[in-house]
Symmetry: C2
Subunit: 350 residues, 2 copies
């Protein structure tokens, strides 16, 4: 029975003030690293803090500050189910954290368009904004805009696709190389000993997430399934109609396709091709993102597996991180790590 009776109240700034023999205001100054305190006094206060094992009550601090956090999400403006889902998660969270002094908003920016993104970032009112979560491509001008934001005290997190060369504070999303590797392993094992070609559907090689998935995919295919012939990526720009249009030609050119990796937001086009060609002997297919459409396809055996990232987790995580940065409190990395989810028909959440 290890049930402790840990009932002693935690020390407050009053205790610190008393022990350090200073006023509350001075303790506060030290705590918030504000200027105008003698070295000696700072040291005395810090000693008291350490001795008493003080940890500040963030809730009380925020209450006193009356501070309101303003965070903005920047998302691509094209429409697909994954974005819809992200958007709805933001909308949901926005409501439920109103009373936690946190305001959320989002801006849509033309997809795969670095200039538009950089412009949008320039528009941000740095005085009124505490954090920005960006889902978009990485280019020099985008990096400059990010640097500008950060220089003005705005926290920047990259979302879904990393922008590693920039100075973002954090990346919230899956490891896309690993996701590609996972897709390859799954597809390879499901296909088994058969030989043939593999078609890879992607959005744009300009998008870092798409690129990375392809990298990981090729790596594992080469290593573990050398008998499979991986075709060049079919770039669908996440446009359902384009993909649907390209499919017949691609299949005609490559009669021996036994597997498909739908690595970006191209499920809609692919699935509608399947549905319109019911006689077509469908290859094994692994797709990305669990959405109403892909769930349905999983249920109807149009898809064999789906690799996904939890959009709710993504936005909660981004917000938690932006808030942690704003409060300068540590981040629980384990909690913020976005999992590479694998879904079969059997383990789909209901």
């Amino acid at each position: 029975m290890t049930q402790d009776t840990d009932t002693k109240a935690a020390p407050t700034i009053n205790d610190i003030a008393r022990v350090a023999e200073v006023s509350l205001a001075t303790v506060d100054r030290v705590l918030n690293a504000r200027p105008g305190v003698r070295e000696k006094t700072v040291a005395r206060v810090n000693k008291a803090i350490a001795d008493l094992g003080y940890v500040r009550d963030t809730a009380a601090a925020n209450l006193a500050r009356g501070r309101i956090y303003n965070f903005v999400f920047i998302l691509p403006s094209n429409h697909n189910e994954f974005l819809t889902s992200l958007e709805s998660q933001i909308e949901q969270l926005k409501q439920s954290i109103r009373h936690e002094r946190t305001r959320l908003s989002f801006v849509r920016v033309a997809a795969f368009d670095p200039v538009a993104l950089a412009n949008a970032l320039e528009q941000i009112d740095t005085a009124r904004t505490d954090g920005v979560a960006i889902f978009g491509p990485e280019t020099p001008s985008v990096r400059d805009s990010i640097a500008h934001l950060r220089a003005n005290g705005v926290t920047v997190v990259s979302l879904v696709a990393d922008i590693p060369s920039s100075e973002r504070d954090f990346y919230v999303g899956i490891d896309n190389i690993a996701a590609g590797r996972t897709a390859a392993q799954l597809l390879g094992r499901f296909i088994g000993p058969r030989e043939g070609s593999i078609l890879v559907l992607t959005g744009s090689m300009l998008a870092r997430d798409h690129l990375e998935r392809r990298l990981g995919f090729d790596e594992v295919m080469a290593r573990d399934f050398p008998k499979l012939n991986i075709l060049a990526s079919l770039e669908g720009r996440d446009d359902p109609e384009l993909i649907e249009k390209l499919m017949p030609g691609t299949l005609a050119d490559n009669p021996n396709i036994i597997g498909i990796y739908s690595s970006a937001a191209g499920n809609e086009g692919l699935l509608s091709f399947f549905k319109k060609n019911p006689d077509f002997q469908r290859p094994t297919v692994v797709a990305h993102e669990l959405t109403p459409l892909s769930r349905d396809a999983l249920n109807n055996q149009l898809l064999d597996a789906v690799i996904s990232q939890d959009s709710g987790h993504l936005v909660r995580s981004a917000v938690r991180i932006m808030r942690a940065k704003a409060d300068s409190v540590p981040i629980n990395a384990a909690q913020e790590r976005i999992r590479i989810d694998i879904y079969l028909k059997e383990n789909m959440p209901s």
Copy 2:
């Protein structure tokens, strides 16, 4: 650019008091459903609340209350990696939420022993405890103890294994039937067209989670892989040595085992059998719970896939739920749904 300028401060009880023309104390009474307020006044206050769209600031409320939450976890006392990991997550969270006025503790109770569990539940000081999270078997006496706890205002959540016939407030854990189904699908597809027998390793059929996994497993095997012959469960009581001891005999009796489902905490025994018999032509194996041992096995191709539940998520979820119940605020079901994680070597978190 949908970036709203939603800067107007949220209404407080002061606003309500003013609009309803009552004092703060009365608003507080209504808000907390305390007695001693005239029907008419209650109605007036509630109208003001609705009109202003008031939402209470929980942080401020808790600060004023000076309330400290006491939650206790009850875990089986046997030792395996999953329990170790759960324990360490509790330990971790315990530290990080000290300053959120929440105290965590845990009690270990003999595994698979309903009497010991019921006793432990009886020991709980209901006056000092706000919530209990139970990982244990479901029996009549356990149900009675739970009813007693709840009658005394203690929130009860079942953890990992549900106790559905009881009146627990919430179940925090995966859908174990679905987990079994998932294992079957994965194993079946990885095995491919070959025929043979499948060995199922379990802990105890008394444990609801183990039972449910087997149910789901059998269901999908019968439906999708009728050519595979599923053997009766080998009950290892989650005892590594027992399992290791039973393996040789079982394999001798069933020479055609081409797949193994390690459905409970028996990985240690199974893996050590593999390691001690390197010549043994290992069948395809799907196991449960991502731990140091199973990660290692995945990396070394001793395991083909691992089905898991995130222990950090499990304990954070349990705590969030107990707190939500204590504050009578709603629960975000999506956030609390524990995923059935599938891990291959490729998507293991680093």
